[in-house]
Amino acid sequence: MLNKENRNQLDKISSILCCDFGVADVEGRVCYSGSSNITEGDIISVPRAGEEVFEEYDIVEQNGMNFAYYNMDDSEPVWFFLSVEGDDKESGKRLLELALCAYDNRREVRSRRKAEFFRSLVTEGYSAVDVNDFNMYVGELSPDIVGYTIIIVSLITSSYDPANLAVVEEFLAGIFPSKEGYCVIPADDERLCIICPLTEENGFEQLLENADLISDTVLSELMISVSVAVGVAVNNIKSIDAAFKSAEKADVIGKMFEMSGKSFVYDKLGLSRLVYGMPKETCLAFLKETLGPSILEDKSWFVRPGGQEDEIKKTIKTFLDTNQNISETSRELYIHRNTLVYRLDKFNKMTGLDCTKFEDGMKVGMAMLVLQYLSKMQNKDNKN
């Protein structure tokens, strides 16, 4: 329950207090003692919850000793206890309040330093962090860990508000607890990053399932819209910056290609990643070759910002998404199958491509991705 850092902080506070001061779990087992009168492992009488429910920072006096209810770093509730000689109960209570205040402040400073350390490690790499800090913070991680990855959670523009980031951070720290080895830190003003340990039991695939829950969960609990991207898995935490960079890229590509799914996973970007790496000239040449030059001149083929797609383009996309299944496409678009066949024919006459054939369908699918990429790049250029 108490790590080395917690103990150091308690030692410092205890040395100033000069009285019986310590920490016990909710069952009364002493897990830290700063006094020779009480030994760690002893059982002391602590207030019991019963019908009453204790809140954090509640102070209770029992048998001449003052107790303060407190949640440690890993959210485990404990009792801080303190007793002073004589009958001055009030000063005992005040001292305990001061001790809690001091502990809180030290925890806050430590937490900020830790977040700063991990932010540097994640965004700038191992070479940018202090080796002593690295040994201190990373040394705390469990030996069961076989790898790491990064989840980036970004506020969607409509939810952008610095206060929202802090709320989401607190929320994610609750569902990705530090006691399980996770670390949630702000990457910048709009993004949070979760350092995720991978173990034999909870590997990458398991993590992806949890990542898929984030956007819906944040939305339903906090009414804040976020996007979620997952980077590659790395074996060593020293290479965690590679996981971060890949998650960043997954976020950009996922949004650019409006990929479906609850999270954008770098290892599952498929053709989108390939297209993203293609030079603009190559893209244009491919479109010209596949769809013909006339389509390139028709602006309706490019996605307008926030715009609706051309009817035929939407039809073709749905047809390819449903594995060229006529019935499913007509059901999905709620059009008669004859209407669908008519639109496919129309496209065939325009381009010479028969989407019902695998080879042509594949070419058209690729061309759709390229069109989407070029449209988004164009919109981005226009904004700049």
Binding site: E52, V53, F54, E55, S158, V167, E170, F171, G174, I175, F176, P177, E180, N210, D212, L213, D216, T217, L219, S220, E221, L222, M223, I224, S225, K262, R304, P305, G306, G307, Q308, E332, L333, Y334
Partner: protein, 370 residues
């Protein structure tokens, strides 16, 4: 508990696309209303505007009579339930249900009280100490609902919450949500693309297409009195049969002619067609599969509405059979009592119940007479 009012709501995107057009709806306190329509019809956008996750371009949104257009989503006192279970794997059932309240700094005593009450309503009290991993699919879904219930919101917004479930669980959860609504007595706005879900759950249904409301009605009225061909075709499974027919008048009789077949209309329907000048014009006849009969008693009763065709396909469904046939190039389905002596290629007589025929304008696709 609250009423929700949407007045002339529009959602327009910067590119010029209008996702929701002049949406007007009064949702009563404690009502279970379902928004239904094909993908891209604007139902989820409408829900997200109610939640505050999408900005309203123009119009007014009132919750309990209070204008909330500019109120932040978290302050609207609503809860959203999505298709993902969204449960936290590292926590017990109790912790999962309590987590949102803890974040809102709700006192512990209150959290305990609310979680236990929600668990009682959902009948999962015995699972509170269990790990999420130890739960079945249905139990997980209940915990997810429990997380929304403990917040005691004024309005529940549900965006296709059952679409991730298999058919058996979906049917089970449908009943659970209906029961839950009865117990909680709260306002629910439910979005789905599944007309069966809409028909079984909603006290009223809003059918949408291309950002426009098509019809708002109770399930039964929607089924019996559709306002246009879209609603008529969208609601009901198998969907309504449609065929282009010519209106003819001979003596006092008004008939719908499809090639060599005719359906003689009852006086009331005939009068409407005549009144609106449809004689000698083409209309669309609509008839639900259960009103295309094969039993001799109907053949006799509706003798001037009988057609004959060879069977294309027969689907034996146990409690009923579906017979597919073609009439003058148009596909028809008849829903009949289960029989085993139906064979593909056999010629059969079918009687179309003229009282149950819907007639639509061929151009506008709007109803002329139900």
């Amino acid at each position: 508990m609250a009423s929700v009012k949407l007045k002339n709501i529009y959602k327009k995107y910067p590119g010029g696309v209008t996702a929701v057009n002049d949406f007007n709806l009064d949702i009563q306190d404690k009502e279970f209303i379902v928004l239904v329509g094909p993908s891209g019809c604007g139902k989820s956008t409408t829900l997200r505007m109610i939640a505050g996750l999408e900005e309203i371009t123009s119009g007014e949104l009132l919750i309990d009579g209070k204008l909330v257009n500019d109120i932040a989503p978290k302050d609207r006192d609503i809860a959203m339930v999505f298709q993902n279970y969204a449960l936290y794997p590292h926590m017990t059932v109790f912790e999962n249900m309590a987590f949102g309240l803890k974040l809102r700094k709700t006192p512990k005593g209150e959290i305990k009280k609310r979680v236990q009450e929600a668990a009682r309503i959902l009948e999962i009290e015995h699972l509170l100490d269990r790990s999420i991993k130890a739960l079945s699919g249905g139990q997980r879904q209940r915990v997810a609902l429990g997380r929304a219930i403990v917040r005691e919101p004024k309005v529940f917004l549900m965006d296709e919450p059952l679409s991730n479930l298999d058919a058996k669980l979906r049917a089970l959860m449908r009943t659970e949500i209906i029961k839950l609504h009865q117990r909680l007595q709260t306002t629910v706005i439910y979005v789905t693309h599944d007309q069966t879900e809409a028909m079984t759950m909603g006290s009223r249904i809003v059918v949408m297409k291309d950002g426009y409301i098509q019809q708002v009605e109770s399930p039964q009225m929607l089924y019996e009195k559709p306002v246009n061909m879209f609603v008529a075709g969208f609601i009901g499974s198998p969907q309504m049969n449609f065929a282009v027919a010519r209106v003819e008048k001979e003596g006092n009789d008004v008939r719908l002619r499809m090639g060599r077949w005719t359906v003689t209309l009852p006086e009331k329907k005939a009068k409407v067609l005549e009144e609106y000048g449809y004689i000698e014009k083409e209309v669309v006849l609509g008839v639900r599969p259960e009103h295309v009969h094969d039993e001799p008693v109907y053949i006799e009763q509706f003798s001037d509405c009988v057609v004959e065709s060879a069977i294309d396909v027969v689907e034996l469904l146990g409690s009923e059979s579906l017979i597919y046939f073609t009439l003058e190039g148009t596909n028809f389905i008849s829903r009949v009592k289960p029989r085993h002596n139906l064979y593909v290629g056999d010629t059969m007589k079918f009687a179309i119940n003229p009282e149950k025929v819907h007639i639509f304008d061929k151009e506008t696709e709007n109803i002329i007479v139900n």
